[in-house]
Assembly symmetry: C2
Homo-oligomer: 393 residues x 2
């Protein structure tokens, strides 16, 4: 017997973005005169809001002076930020206690680490296609993965199947990569399922700020969710924090499994294996949640939204079936062929880079993801080229 | 069967520092006229070095401008910092490739998370007394814990026992809480043990910057260590980063278990469950490792060292047996009674707060930890009181 976690050996190579980069590199080498535009990136491009930059500067100055220096902070985050996040939820009519909120260094970390408080070998219900971290972290933990298929038949929004006895259920809404977002009635059905099965919903709300329609931003807008759901959110896409690293996780007091409160377990996990988010970053996040900050970030969100509308409009003009883009920075289009073939067609025919849907799961085959995170000018140009390509083929 | 990780239920309540705080609070309430000095804190008190504050400000400005903004960085850290850390090791004659270095948000996180790449149920050899995180994370993982006793008989430096077949071995040098530090010959014996047993040493070097004597700062100064050891280090105590959060973990290329390279496993773990340290913090850490930065932090280290010498001198004067304080910010003294009784004697008799040794493990009973992290003035005053108390008893 080996002392390593052999589950790691069952992980597939995470070649998706590396392979995309390789093929783009090769194409550029062979075609040095062509200008290639990427609509493939899942990263923001607008700079950090001014309020955040100023807050970092002020906090760094505090850290540099003996009388205002701060050492170890609370592992679960400073009250000033937890209170700010509770206020943010209150704007949507969701009441949370600060102690139910844990400041994190991003949704990805906590979505991965949350499995620490669950048993090994549990049944995890994971959408397909989806953000690869859910699957990979469950493979690492040796859990049993069951898929909830997202396809045209369900508008890319899988609904509960009572034949499946899941211990945890991953939901991501608005979804990465499909851009589909649940409405309140649909989320209510998931809450009903979780309560009936004693399952815990792990709700990834990282893209909630992109919602424009009358849809829930938080699962806690649904009655009963505090008894069955943990919510993960992030400043990454909301406020351009992908390189600044801050998010939060909500573990409601009312959430218990087998009589054990998960809030206490997660608190113990974080106090033991985490030492909190940098003070300077927490001050930046607090600034983002101020009235002034929220106005500032919405200018950026609107910028990305406009890009999404441009892409969606171009696809409509070209007669390409797609979803997303309305409440999400992601557009999910139907290739009409193999995802990777489509990737090459778009790259060679329009010099536009996107992401093959098959990289997000088996059900992603035949689909393709475009993102709204490029510049306005590049988005316009890329869409012009895509339309022109479709006229030719 | 419950879906939670029931190992959490086996954890003891982490009451040590909470209980210390409670008793101090009660004492202060009952004795409002007394001035209480804490030599109990394990947190730094000197402000962040000027070079770090400046680097944060400059990096925040970069993040606020479209043309210099940075989104997701490499999960394992930017090359500018990994190269800086490699250079830091080179000062001690240790050659590391940048890809062997993983930038972390602190030693605590990685010391906890590292167990992800090991099997469940492994045998972990843990010193007693020691930093409680080693034990708690192993309990959470359901591992089998065996203790290596640190006491007067081994100068608080446990040595290998070949009767024990450990899968992982935790070493912390200079040690928290005893302040004892291994020499090269002793570490060589641990490397020999690990190589003979196929065990992995998890080497916590968080206090290396306090070493003054001719002792190894890194386990990689020992031949063969790259084949059997992972090293954790931190800017927390070195540069006052306890609230700024940056450290690093070295997983050498040559380290394999059962033919599987741990560097690849840890890279996969980090890419899946971590999204890197904030860019602004990595720039601050880089500044600390510059020539100017190292000079700046050594002024702070010397300040704490002087405090440690003052405490050690006072204990000598009072005839109190102790170790540490020479290559470490921690002083470990023999109470001559129960650790908690001593705590109360010191609090009530000298208005000085320290930490009962029993809080760090069974072998800590009868011992007591004082730290050098208070101010010079408070350290002097506390020592005066301790000496005066010993004259009375």
């Amino acid at each position: 017997m080996s002392a390593i976690n052999t589950n790691f050996l069952s992980l597939e190579r995470n070649y998706l973005f590396a392979e995309v980069a390789r093929q783009v590199r090769e194409y550029k080498l062979a075609n040095p005169d062509k200008s290639v535009i990427s609509l493939g990136i899942g990263d923001v491009t607008m700079p950090l809001p001014r309020c955040a930059v100023e807050a970092i500067g002020a906090a760094a100055a505090e850290m540099g002076a003996a009388d205002t220096f701060r050492g170890y902070g609370p592992e679960q985050g400073y009250d000033f930020l937890r209170d700010g996040i509770a206020d943010y939820y209150r704007l949507r009519g969701v009441e949370l206690e600060s102690r139910e909120i844990f400041v994190s260094d991003g949704a990805k970390s906590d979505l991965g680490n949350i499995l620490d408080i669950f048993d090994r070998g549990i049944v995890s219900l994971i959408p397909d296609p989806v953000y690869p971290v859910y699957l990979d972290t469950n493979i690492m933990a040796g859990n049993k993965v069951v898929y909830a298929k997202a396809d045209e038949s369900n508008d890319f929004l899988p609904m509960p199947d009572y034949k499946i006895d899941a211990d945890v259920v991953y939901l991501c809404s608005p979804n990465n990569p499909t851009g589909a977002a649940y409405n309140a009635a649909q989320l209510g059905m998931w809450v009903d399922y979780a309560l009936a099965k004693g399952a815990v919903i792990l709700y990834d709300a990282a893209y909630e700020r992109f919602i424009k329609d009358d849809l829930p931003h938080s699962i806690y807008e649904i009655e009963g969710a505090k008894e069955c759901a943990i919510e993960f959110c992030s400043f990454s896409k909301t406020a351009g924090f992908t390189g600044t690293r801050c998010g939060w996780t909500v573990v409601p007091d009312a959430l218990a499994v087998g009589g054990v409160k998960l809030n206490g377990l997660w608190l113990r996990r974080q106090c033991t294996k985490f030492n909190g988010v940098p003070y300077i970053v927490q001050r930046a996040a607090q600034a983002v949640l101020s009235d002034k900050g929220l106005k500032e970030i919405d200018v950026n969100i609107d910028y990305y939204r406009r890009n999404a509308q441009i892409i969606s409009g171009a696809l409509c003009d070209a007669g390409v079936e797609h979803c997303g883009g309305k409440n999400s920075p992601y557009i999910w289009l139907k290739c009409g062929c193999d995802s990777w073939d489509y990737f090459r067609t778009l790259l060679c025919g329009a010099q536009v880079v996107g992401t093959p849907g098959s990289g997000f799961g088996k059900c992603g085959e035949g689909y393709f993801r475009l993102t709204a995170f490029s510049s306005y000018e590049n988005t316009l140009e890329a869409c012009k080229r895509i339309k022109s390509l479709y006229r030719k083929i």
